[in-house]
Protein backbone atom coordinates (compact mmCIF):
# COMPACT_ATOMS: atom_id res chain seq x y z
CA UNK A 1 0.00 0.00 0.00
CA UNK A 2 2.72 2.42 1.01
CA UNK A 3 4.75 1.83 -2.15
CA UNK A 4 1.70 2.52 -4.30
CA UNK A 5 0.97 5.79 -2.52
CA UNK A 6 4.65 6.57 -2.83
CA UNK A 7 4.33 6.16 -6.59
CA UNK A 8 1.45 8.63 -6.82
CA UNK A 9 2.86 11.67 -8.46
CA UNK A 10 1.88 15.35 -8.43
CA UNK A 11 3.31 17.21 -11.43
CA UNK A 12 2.74 19.96 -13.97
CA UNK A 13 2.12 19.11 -17.61
CA UNK A 14 0.88 20.47 -20.92
CA UNK A 15 2.64 22.60 -23.55
CA UNK A 16 3.50 25.38 -21.13
CA UNK A 17 3.50 23.14 -18.03
CA UNK A 18 0.52 25.15 -16.88
CA UNK A 19 -1.75 22.32 -15.79
CA UNK A 20 -1.49 20.59 -12.43
CA UNK A 21 -2.01 16.85 -12.43
CA UNK A 22 -1.92 13.98 -10.00
CA UNK A 23 -1.22 10.53 -11.38
CA UNK A 24 -2.29 7.37 -9.55
CA UNK A 25 -0.65 4.31 -11.12
CA UNK A 26 -2.44 0.99 -10.80
CA UNK A 27 -0.88 -2.07 -9.22
CA UNK A 28 -1.79 -4.18 -12.23
CA UNK A 29 -2.93 -2.38 -15.36
CA UNK A 30 -6.14 -3.82 -16.78
CA UNK A 31 -6.02 -2.04 -20.13
CA UNK A 32 -7.97 1.14 -19.50
CA UNK A 33 -7.27 4.30 -17.54
CA UNK A 34 -9.56 6.91 -16.02
CA UNK A 35 -9.42 10.69 -16.28
CA UNK A 36 -11.16 12.54 -13.47
CA UNK A 37 -12.55 15.85 -14.74
CA UNK A 38 -13.24 18.21 -11.84
CA UNK A 39 -16.19 20.54 -11.53
CA UNK A 40 -15.53 24.29 -11.43
CA UNK A 41 -15.34 26.96 -8.74
CA UNK A 42 -16.28 26.12 -5.22
CA UNK A 43 -17.62 22.73 -6.35
CA UNK A 44 -14.08 21.69 -7.31
CA UNK A 45 -12.85 22.33 -3.76
CA UNK A 46 -15.87 20.60 -2.25
CA UNK A 47 -15.19 17.50 -4.39
CA UNK A 48 -11.43 17.30 -3.83
CA UNK A 49 -11.47 14.53 -1.23
CA UNK A 50 -14.11 12.56 -3.10
CA UNK A 51 -11.98 12.63 -6.25
CA UNK A 52 -8.93 11.53 -4.29
CA UNK A 53 -10.85 8.63 -2.76
CA UNK A 54 -12.20 7.65 -6.17
CA UNK A 55 -8.70 7.76 -7.65
CA UNK A 56 -7.36 5.48 -4.89
CA UNK A 57 -10.22 3.03 -5.31
CA UNK A 58 -9.86 2.83 -9.08
CA UNK A 59 -6.07 2.46 -8.92
CA UNK A 60 -6.44 -0.36 -6.41
CA UNK A 61 -8.75 -2.18 -8.80
CA UNK A 62 -6.33 -1.92 -11.70
CA UNK A 63 -7.34 1.35 -13.39
CA UNK A 64 -4.65 4.05 -13.45
CA UNK A 65 -6.05 7.52 -12.83
CA UNK A 66 -5.15 11.08 -13.63
CA UNK A 67 -6.70 13.94 -11.69
CA UNK A 68 -6.05 17.44 -12.97
CA UNK A 69 -7.02 21.12 -12.66
CA UNK A 70 -8.18 23.26 -15.59
CA UNK A 71 -6.27 26.46 -16.37
CA UNK A 72 -7.37 29.10 -13.86
CA UNK A 73 -8.42 26.56 -11.22
CA UNK A 74 -6.85 24.65 -8.34
CA UNK A 75 -3.05 24.48 -8.54
CA UNK A 76 -2.94 25.12 -12.30
CA UNK A 77 -1.63 28.37 -13.70
CA UNK A 78 -3.97 31.24 -14.42
CA UNK A 79 -6.31 33.36 -12.40
CA UNK A 80 -9.92 32.46 -11.69
CA UNK A 81 -11.16 35.33 -13.86
CA UNK A 82 -9.29 33.80 -16.83
CA UNK A 83 -11.34 30.61 -16.69
CA UNK A 84 -12.94 29.90 -20.08
CA UNK A 85 -15.09 26.98 -21.19
CA UNK A 86 -13.29 26.28 -24.51
CA UNK A 87 -9.99 26.17 -22.60
CA UNK A 88 -11.53 23.66 -20.15
CA UNK A 89 -12.40 21.40 -23.09
CA UNK A 90 -8.91 21.78 -24.52
CA UNK A 91 -7.47 20.93 -21.10
CA UNK A 92 -9.52 17.70 -21.01
CA UNK A 93 -7.90 16.67 -24.30
CA UNK A 94 -4.43 17.64 -23.05
CA UNK A 95 -4.96 15.67 -19.84
CA UNK A 96 -6.28 12.62 -21.72
CA UNK A 97 -3.16 12.65 -23.92
CA UNK A 98 -0.98 12.91 -20.82
CA UNK A 99 -2.78 9.95 -19.25
CA UNK A 100 -2.29 7.85 -22.40
CA UNK A 101 1.41 8.63 -22.37
CA UNK A 102 1.77 7.71 -18.71
CA UNK A 103 -0.21 4.48 -18.61
CA UNK A 104 0.89 3.26 -22.02
CA UNK A 105 -2.53 2.07 -23.15
CA UNK A 106 -5.08 3.55 -25.46
CA UNK A 107 -8.46 3.20 -23.76
CA UNK A 108 -9.35 6.21 -21.61
CA UNK A 109 -12.57 6.58 -19.65
CA UNK A 110 -13.65 9.70 -17.79
CA UNK A 111 -15.60 10.62 -14.72
CA UNK A 112 -16.93 14.12 -14.08
CA UNK A 113 -19.16 15.87 -11.58
CA UNK A 114 -21.33 18.82 -12.64
CA UNK A 115 -19.50 20.88 -15.27
CA UNK A 116 -16.70 18.33 -15.12
CA UNK A 117 -19.16 15.84 -16.62
CA UNK A 118 -20.18 18.33 -19.30
CA UNK A 119 -16.52 18.99 -20.11
CA UNK A 120 -15.76 15.28 -20.46
CA UNK A 121 -18.78 14.73 -22.70
CA UNK A 122 -18.18 17.81 -24.84
CA UNK A 123 -14.48 16.98 -25.27
CA UNK A 124 -15.00 13.25 -25.74
CA UNK A 125 -14.13 13.34 -29.44
CA UNK A 126 -11.05 15.58 -29.20
CA UNK A 127 -9.87 13.70 -26.10
CA UNK A 128 -10.67 10.31 -27.73
CA UNK A 129 -12.57 9.13 -24.67
CA UNK A 130 -14.05 5.65 -24.69
CA UNK A 131 -16.71 6.20 -22.05
CA UNK A 132 -17.95 8.77 -19.55
CA UNK A 133 -19.60 8.51 -16.17
CA UNK A 134 -21.41 11.76 -15.44
CA UNK A 135 -22.62 12.82 -12.00
CA UNK A 136 -25.17 15.62 -11.75
CA UNK A 137 -24.16 16.92 -15.16
CA UNK A 138 -25.57 20.35 -16.01
CA UNK A 139 -28.62 19.93 -18.20
CA UNK A 140 -29.58 23.61 -18.27
CA UNK A 141 -26.83 26.22 -18.48
CA UNK A 142 -29.28 29.11 -18.07
CA UNK A 143 -30.47 27.61 -14.80
CA UNK A 144 -26.88 27.17 -13.62
CA UNK A 145 -26.05 30.82 -14.32
CA UNK A 146 -29.20 31.93 -12.53
CA UNK A 147 -28.32 29.67 -9.61
CA UNK A 148 -24.79 31.04 -9.25
CA UNK A 149 -26.07 34.64 -9.52
CA UNK A 150 -28.76 33.94 -6.94
CA UNK A 151 -26.27 32.33 -4.55
CA UNK A 152 -23.91 35.28 -4.91
CA UNK A 153 -26.73 37.72 -4.12
CA UNK A 154 -27.76 35.65 -1.12
CA UNK A 155 -24.19 35.58 0.17
CA UNK A 156 -24.11 39.36 0.63
CA UNK A 157 -26.90 39.29 3.16
CA UNK A 158 -26.05 36.00 4.82
CA UNK A 159 -25.97 36.82 8.51
CA UNK A 160 -24.67 33.35 9.31
CA UNK A 161 -21.54 34.45 7.50
CA UNK A 162 -21.29 38.20 7.93
CA UNK A 163 -21.77 40.24 11.06
CA UNK A 164 -23.50 42.88 8.94
CA UNK A 165 -25.28 42.43 5.61
CA UNK A 166 -23.51 44.00 2.63
CA UNK A 167 -26.26 44.66 0.10
CA UNK A 168 -24.49 47.75 -1.25
CA UNK A 169 -21.65 45.74 -2.77
CA UNK A 170 -21.45 45.17 -6.50
CA UNK A 171 -20.51 41.51 -6.89
CA UNK A 172 -21.89 41.14 -10.39
CA UNK A 173 -18.62 39.68 -11.68
CA UNK A 174 -18.39 37.03 -8.96
CA UNK A 175 -19.79 33.58 -8.44
CA UNK A 176 -19.58 32.04 -5.00
CA UNK A 177 -16.00 32.46 -3.89
CA UNK A 178 -14.52 33.36 -7.26
CA UNK A 179 -14.17 36.20 -9.71
CA UNK A 180 -15.45 35.36 -13.17
CA UNK A 181 -15.48 37.10 -16.52
CA UNK A 182 -18.43 38.00 -18.71
CA UNK A 183 -17.30 35.57 -21.39
CA UNK A 184 -17.66 32.57 -19.07
CA UNK A 185 -21.11 33.83 -18.10
CA UNK A 186 -22.14 33.78 -21.77
CA UNK A 187 -20.45 30.45 -22.48
CA UNK A 188 -22.23 28.68 -19.64
CA UNK A 189 -25.56 30.38 -20.30
CA UNK A 190 -25.94 28.60 -23.58
CA UNK A 191 -24.66 25.29 -22.28
CA UNK A 192 -26.69 22.16 -22.90
CA UNK A 193 -25.84 18.57 -22.14
CA UNK A 194 -24.14 16.82 -25.04
CA UNK A 195 -24.75 13.11 -25.45
CA UNK A 196 -22.05 11.91 -27.82
CA UNK A 197 -23.72 8.55 -28.17
CA UNK A 198 -20.76 6.72 -26.71
CA UNK A 199 -20.73 4.53 -23.62
CA UNK A 200 -22.02 6.73 -20.87
CA UNK A 201 -23.73 6.51 -17.52
CA UNK A 202 -25.70 9.16 -15.70
CA UNK A 203 -25.50 9.34 -11.94
CA UNK A 204 -27.98 11.60 -10.27
CA UNK A 205 -28.12 12.77 -6.66
CA UNK A 206 -31.20 11.99 -4.60
CA UNK A 207 -32.14 15.67 -4.63
CA UNK A 208 -31.24 17.42 -7.86
CA UNK A 209 -31.04 21.17 -8.31
CA UNK A 210 -32.65 23.08 -11.14
CA UNK A 211 -29.46 23.12 -13.22
CA UNK A 212 -28.85 19.36 -13.17
CA UNK A 213 -32.39 18.05 -13.36
CA UNK A 214 -32.33 15.12 -15.78
CA UNK A 215 -33.92 15.96 -19.12
CA UNK A 216 -36.16 13.63 -21.08
CA UNK A 217 -33.30 12.16 -23.07
CA UNK A 218 -31.46 10.99 -19.99
CA UNK A 219 -34.19 10.46 -17.41
CA UNK A 220 -34.68 6.84 -18.43
CA UNK A 221 -30.98 6.02 -18.08
CA UNK A 222 -30.56 7.84 -14.78
CA UNK A 223 -29.03 5.98 -11.85
CA UNK A 224 -30.09 7.56 -8.59
CA UNK A 225 -27.45 7.73 -5.84
CA UNK A 226 -28.16 8.41 -2.21
CA UNK A 227 -26.11 11.59 -1.85
CA UNK A 228 -27.26 15.17 -1.26
CA UNK A 229 -24.47 17.57 -2.15
CA UNK A 230 -26.81 20.59 -2.06
CA UNK A 231 -24.97 22.35 -4.86
CA UNK A 232 -27.25 25.39 -4.61
CA UNK A 233 -27.04 25.95 -0.85
CA UNK A 234 -24.76 28.74 0.39
CA UNK A 235 -24.62 27.08 3.82
CA UNK A 236 -22.64 24.28 2.17
CA UNK A 237 -19.95 26.28 0.38
CA UNK A 238 -17.21 25.07 2.72
CA UNK A 239 -18.52 21.55 3.22
CA UNK A 240 -16.58 18.74 1.62
CA UNK A 241 -18.70 16.18 -0.22
CA UNK A 242 -18.08 12.65 0.99
CA UNK A 243 -20.22 9.76 -0.21
CA UNK A 244 -19.55 6.06 -0.25
CA UNK A 245 -22.66 5.28 -2.35
CA UNK A 246 -21.42 7.69 -5.00
CA UNK A 247 -17.90 6.23 -4.93
CA UNK A 248 -19.24 2.69 -5.16
CA UNK A 249 -21.53 3.52 -8.08
CA UNK A 250 -18.84 5.41 -10.01
CA UNK A 251 -16.26 2.65 -9.49
CA UNK A 252 -18.70 -0.06 -10.52
CA UNK A 253 -19.73 1.75 -13.71
CA UNK A 254 -16.17 2.60 -14.71
CA UNK A 255 -15.02 -0.98 -14.14
CA UNK A 256 -17.91 -2.24 -16.27
CA UNK A 257 -16.91 0.14 -19.07
CA UNK A 258 -13.26 -0.88 -18.80
Amino acid sequence: MKSRIDAELPFYFGPGRELFGFYHPAAAVAGAAVLLCPPLGVEQIRCHRLYRQLAHGLAESGLPVLRFDYFGTGDSAGESRELAWPRCLADVATAAAELRTRHGGSRVLAFGARLGANAALAASASARLDGVVAWDAITDGDALVRQYDRMQDALKVDLNRFEHARPELDVSTQWPGFERNERLHEQLEGLRLIDPGMASAWLSSALTDEASRPDEGHAGRRICVDVSPRWDDIDCLELAILSHPLLDAAKRLLKEMA
Binding site: K2, I5, D6, E8, L9, P10, F11, Y12, E18, F20, F22, V42, I45, H48, R49, R52, T73, G74, D75, A77, E79, S80, L155, K156, L159, R161, F162, E163, H164, R166, L169, V171, Q174, P176, G177, F178, E179, R230, D233, D235, C236, L237, E238, L239, A240
Partner: protein, 273 residues
Protein backbone atom coordinates in the same frame (compact mmCIF):
# COMPACT_ATOMS: atom_id res chain seq x y z
CA UNK B 1 4.82 30.67 -13.53
CA UNK B 2 7.65 28.97 -11.65
CA UNK B 3 5.74 26.35 -9.67
CA UNK B 4 6.71 22.77 -9.08
CA UNK B 5 4.78 20.01 -7.33
CA UNK B 6 6.45 17.71 -4.83
CA UNK B 7 5.90 14.61 -2.80
CA UNK B 8 8.23 15.06 0.13
CA UNK B 9 9.08 14.28 3.72
CA UNK B 10 11.07 11.37 5.14
CA UNK B 11 8.10 9.08 4.53
CA UNK B 12 7.28 10.90 1.25
CA UNK B 13 3.79 11.29 2.62
CA UNK B 14 3.41 15.04 2.09
CA UNK B 15 2.29 16.84 -1.06
CA UNK B 16 2.91 20.48 -1.82
CA UNK B 17 3.58 23.09 -4.48
CA UNK B 18 6.68 25.28 -4.36
CA UNK B 19 6.47 28.68 -6.03
CA UNK B 20 9.70 30.47 -6.84
CA UNK B 21 10.36 34.04 -7.91
CA UNK B 22 12.54 34.59 -10.96
CA UNK B 23 15.24 35.95 -8.64
CA UNK B 24 15.68 34.62 -5.12
CA UNK B 25 17.47 36.77 -2.59
CA UNK B 26 17.70 34.05 0.09
CA UNK B 27 15.56 36.08 2.44
CA UNK B 28 12.51 34.39 3.87
CA UNK B 29 10.22 31.79 2.43
CA UNK B 30 6.50 31.67 3.19
CA UNK B 31 4.74 28.41 4.07
CA UNK B 32 0.96 28.01 3.94
CA UNK B 33 -0.78 25.63 6.34
CA UNK B 34 -4.18 24.05 5.72
CA UNK B 35 -7.23 26.01 6.79
CA UNK B 36 -9.26 23.35 8.56
CA UNK B 37 -9.77 20.45 6.18
CA UNK B 38 -9.51 22.55 3.01
CA UNK B 39 -6.69 21.24 0.84
CA UNK B 40 -3.62 23.30 0.05
CA UNK B 41 -5.22 25.75 -2.43
CA UNK B 42 -6.96 27.35 0.55
CA UNK B 43 -10.53 28.56 0.94
CA UNK B 44 -11.68 29.81 -2.46
CA UNK B 45 -8.06 29.47 -3.69
CA UNK B 46 -6.78 32.05 -1.21
CA UNK B 47 -3.39 30.30 -0.81
CA UNK B 48 -2.84 30.11 -4.56
CA UNK B 49 -3.60 33.80 -5.10
CA UNK B 50 -1.45 34.90 -2.18
CA UNK B 51 1.49 32.64 -2.91
CA UNK B 52 1.66 33.85 -6.52
CA UNK B 53 1.49 37.46 -5.42
CA UNK B 54 4.33 36.82 -2.97
CA UNK B 55 6.34 35.06 -5.68
CA UNK B 56 5.95 38.16 -7.86
CA UNK B 57 7.35 40.23 -4.99
CA UNK B 58 10.37 37.95 -4.64
CA UNK B 59 9.39 35.49 -1.89
CA UNK B 60 9.59 31.71 -2.38
CA UNK B 61 6.47 29.92 -1.16
CA UNK B 62 5.22 26.46 -0.33
CA UNK B 63 1.57 25.52 0.02
CA UNK B 64 1.24 21.97 1.25
CA UNK B 65 -1.09 19.48 2.87
CA UNK B 66 -0.42 18.29 6.41
CA UNK B 67 -0.49 14.55 7.09
CA UNK B 68 -3.88 12.97 6.22
CA UNK B 69 -5.30 16.24 4.85
CA UNK B 70 -5.78 17.01 1.16
CA UNK B 71 -3.42 14.87 -0.92
CA UNK B 72 -1.03 13.98 1.89
CA UNK B 73 -0.97 10.56 3.50
CA UNK B 74 -0.10 9.37 6.98
CA UNK B 75 3.52 9.53 8.06
CA UNK B 76 3.54 6.09 9.66
CA UNK B 77 5.08 7.60 12.77
CA UNK B 78 3.38 7.27 16.12
CA UNK B 79 3.15 10.94 16.98
CA UNK B 80 0.39 12.93 18.61
CA UNK B 81 -1.42 15.22 16.18
CA UNK B 82 0.29 18.39 17.48
CA UNK B 83 3.71 16.72 17.23
CA UNK B 84 2.90 15.44 13.75
CA UNK B 85 1.93 18.95 12.64
CA UNK B 86 5.24 20.35 13.90
CA UNK B 87 7.13 17.49 12.21
CA UNK B 88 5.29 18.15 8.93
CA UNK B 89 6.07 21.87 9.06
CA UNK B 90 9.74 21.02 9.63
CA UNK B 91 9.69 18.79 6.54
CA UNK B 92 8.08 21.66 4.63
CA UNK B 93 10.83 24.06 5.73
CA UNK B 94 13.43 21.53 4.62
CA UNK B 95 11.85 21.26 1.16
CA UNK B 96 11.59 24.99 0.68
CA UNK B 97 15.19 25.39 1.83
CA UNK B 98 16.34 22.79 -0.72
CA UNK B 99 14.43 24.49 -3.51
CA UNK B 100 15.08 28.14 -2.71
CA UNK B 101 18.04 28.32 -0.35
CA UNK B 102 15.92 30.07 2.27
CA UNK B 103 16.77 29.29 5.87
CA UNK B 104 14.20 31.54 7.55
CA UNK B 105 10.47 31.13 7.23
CA UNK B 106 7.16 32.90 7.75
CA UNK B 107 4.09 30.75 8.43
CA UNK B 108 0.60 31.62 7.23
CA UNK B 109 -2.46 29.96 8.71
CA UNK B 110 -6.19 30.55 8.93
CA UNK B 111 -8.19 29.21 11.88
CA UNK B 112 -6.77 25.78 12.77
CA UNK B 113 -3.97 26.73 10.37
CA UNK B 114 -3.20 29.66 12.69
CA UNK B 115 -3.19 27.32 15.66
CA UNK B 116 -0.77 25.00 13.88
CA UNK B 117 1.39 27.94 12.79
CA UNK B 118 1.50 29.08 16.41
CA UNK B 119 2.70 25.64 17.58
CA UNK B 120 5.40 25.39 14.92
CA UNK B 121 6.53 29.00 15.38
CA UNK B 122 6.88 28.44 19.10
CA UNK B 123 9.23 25.47 18.84
CA UNK B 124 11.28 26.01 15.68
CA UNK B 125 13.96 28.71 15.59
CA UNK B 126 13.88 28.87 11.79
CA UNK B 127 10.44 30.50 11.97
CA UNK B 128 10.93 34.26 12.00
CA UNK B 129 7.37 35.40 11.46
CA UNK B 130 3.78 34.27 11.37
CA UNK B 131 0.45 35.50 10.10
CA UNK B 132 -2.44 34.25 12.19
CA UNK B 133 -5.86 34.64 10.58
CA UNK B 134 -8.70 34.18 13.04
CA UNK B 135 -6.22 32.55 15.34
CA UNK B 136 -5.97 32.69 19.09
CA UNK B 137 -8.06 35.13 21.03
CA UNK B 138 -10.58 34.71 23.77
CA UNK B 139 -13.83 36.24 24.84
CA UNK B 140 -13.53 39.17 27.23
CA UNK B 141 -15.98 41.27 29.19
CA UNK B 142 -15.73 43.96 26.49
CA UNK B 143 -16.46 41.42 23.77
CA UNK B 144 -19.55 40.19 25.61
CA UNK B 145 -20.86 43.71 26.17
CA UNK B 146 -20.31 44.67 22.54
CA UNK B 147 -21.94 41.44 21.41
CA UNK B 148 -24.99 41.25 23.65
CA UNK B 149 -25.92 44.85 24.49
CA UNK B 150 -26.87 45.96 20.97
CA UNK B 151 -28.81 42.73 20.48
CA UNK B 152 -30.84 43.24 23.63
CA UNK B 153 -32.11 46.53 22.23
CA UNK B 154 -32.53 45.38 18.63
CA UNK B 155 -36.00 44.02 17.84
CA UNK B 156 -34.92 42.68 14.45
CA UNK B 157 -32.18 40.64 16.16
CA UNK B 158 -34.83 39.08 18.41
CA UNK B 159 -36.93 38.29 15.33
CA UNK B 160 -33.93 36.66 13.64
CA UNK B 161 -33.16 34.63 16.75
CA UNK B 162 -36.73 33.38 16.94
CA UNK B 163 -36.76 32.59 13.24
CA UNK B 164 -33.51 30.63 13.64
CA UNK B 165 -35.00 28.70 16.56
CA UNK B 166 -37.99 27.78 14.40
CA UNK B 167 -35.78 26.87 11.47
CA UNK B 168 -33.54 24.73 13.64
CA UNK B 169 -36.17 22.01 13.55
CA UNK B 170 -35.31 21.48 9.88
CA UNK B 171 -32.18 19.43 9.12
CA UNK B 172 -29.16 21.65 8.61
CA UNK B 173 -25.80 20.70 7.21
CA UNK B 174 -23.01 20.08 9.66
CA UNK B 175 -20.96 23.13 10.61
CA UNK B 176 -17.79 23.69 8.60
CA UNK B 177 -14.77 22.09 10.19
CA UNK B 178 -13.00 25.33 11.06
CA UNK B 179 -12.97 25.10 14.82
CA UNK B 180 -9.87 26.07 16.75
CA UNK B 181 -9.33 24.13 19.95
CA UNK B 182 -7.96 26.90 22.12
CA UNK B 183 -4.93 26.66 24.34
CA UNK B 184 -5.54 28.31 27.69
CA UNK B 185 -5.08 32.11 27.31
CA UNK B 186 -2.28 32.13 29.85
CA UNK B 187 -0.30 29.56 27.85
CA UNK B 188 -0.89 31.46 24.60
CA UNK B 189 0.36 34.69 26.19
CA UNK B 190 3.47 33.00 27.56
CA UNK B 191 4.28 31.37 24.24
CA UNK B 192 3.72 34.59 22.31
CA UNK B 193 6.00 36.41 24.74
CA UNK B 194 8.72 33.82 24.12
CA UNK B 195 8.32 34.18 20.37
CA UNK B 196 8.57 37.95 20.55
CA UNK B 197 11.64 37.66 22.75
CA UNK B 198 13.22 35.52 20.03
CA UNK B 199 12.57 38.35 17.59
CA UNK B 200 9.62 36.89 15.65
CA UNK B 201 7.29 39.24 13.82
CA UNK B 202 3.68 38.29 14.42
CA UNK B 203 0.55 39.55 12.75
CA UNK B 204 -2.98 38.75 13.89
CA UNK B 205 -5.88 39.32 11.50
CA UNK B 206 -9.41 38.77 12.78
CA UNK B 207 -12.49 38.74 10.57
CA UNK B 208 -16.08 39.65 11.32
CA UNK B 209 -16.82 35.96 10.87
CA UNK B 210 -15.52 35.16 14.33
CA UNK B 211 -17.44 37.80 16.28
CA UNK B 212 -18.51 34.97 18.60
CA UNK B 213 -15.08 35.37 20.19
CA UNK B 214 -13.53 38.54 18.72
CA UNK B 215 -15.45 41.68 17.75
CA UNK B 216 -13.27 44.78 18.13
CA UNK B 217 -9.65 45.67 17.60
CA UNK B 218 -9.53 46.88 21.23
CA UNK B 219 -10.09 43.29 22.26
CA UNK B 220 -6.58 42.38 21.19
CA UNK B 221 -5.21 44.38 24.12
CA UNK B 222 -7.90 42.92 26.37
CA UNK B 223 -6.67 39.46 25.39
CA UNK B 224 -2.92 39.94 25.35
CA UNK B 225 -2.29 42.90 27.65
CA UNK B 226 1.13 44.52 27.39
CA UNK B 227 2.17 42.16 24.62
CA UNK B 228 0.00 44.29 22.34
CA UNK B 229 2.51 47.14 22.75
CA UNK B 230 5.46 45.09 21.55
CA UNK B 231 6.81 46.42 18.23
CA UNK B 232 7.03 42.88 16.85
CA UNK B 233 3.30 42.24 17.09
CA UNK B 234 0.41 43.76 15.18
CA UNK B 235 -3.30 43.15 14.92
CA UNK B 236 -6.06 44.06 12.49
CA UNK B 237 -9.78 43.55 12.50
CA UNK B 238 -11.47 43.05 9.11
CA UNK B 239 -14.92 43.63 10.49
CA UNK B 240 -16.79 43.36 7.20
CA UNK B 241 -15.15 40.16 5.99
CA UNK B 242 -16.35 36.64 6.71
CA UNK B 243 -14.20 33.84 8.09
CA UNK B 244 -13.13 32.40 4.72
CA UNK B 245 -13.07 35.63 2.63
CA UNK B 246 -15.71 34.43 0.19
CA UNK B 247 -16.05 37.85 -1.49
CA UNK B 248 -13.17 38.60 -3.82
CA UNK B 249 -12.97 42.24 -2.70
CA UNK B 250 -12.43 41.18 0.90
CA UNK B 251 -9.85 38.67 -0.24
CA UNK B 252 -7.96 41.30 -2.20
CA UNK B 253 -7.88 43.57 0.86
CA UNK B 254 -6.45 40.70 2.87
CA UNK B 255 -3.85 40.02 0.18
CA UNK B 256 -2.88 43.70 0.18
CA UNK B 257 -2.53 43.61 3.95
CA UNK B 258 -0.34 40.51 3.95
CA UNK B 259 1.95 41.72 1.18
CA UNK B 260 2.38 45.10 2.88
CA UNK B 261 3.17 43.41 6.19
CA UNK B 262 5.71 41.16 4.49
CA UNK B 263 7.31 44.11 2.72
CA UNK B 264 7.53 46.06 5.97
CA UNK B 265 9.08 43.30 8.08
CA UNK B 266 10.92 41.18 5.52
CA UNK B 267 11.83 43.50 2.66
CA UNK B 268 13.12 41.87 -0.51
CA UNK B 269 16.27 43.47 -1.80
CA UNK B 270 15.85 42.06 -5.31
CA UNK B 271 12.19 41.87 -6.32
CA UNK B 272 11.21 38.63 -8.07
CA UNK B 273 9.81 39.77 -11.38
Amino acid sequence: MHEQAFRFGKARHLVGVVGLPAVIDHGVGVIFLNAGMVYRVGPFRLHVELSRRLNAMGYPTLRFDLSTIGDSGASGQRLSRPDQVVADVREAMELLKQQSGCTRFVLFGLCSGAQNAHSAAHVDPRVVGALFLDGYGHRTLGQRLRHYLPRLLDTSAWRRLLARRRASAAPRPAEPLFVVEPLPPKVVREQLAEMLQRGLKLDFVYSGGVSRYFNHIRQFRECFGRLADHPGISASFFKDADHTYVLTGDRQRLLDHVTQWMGRHFPVTRPGT
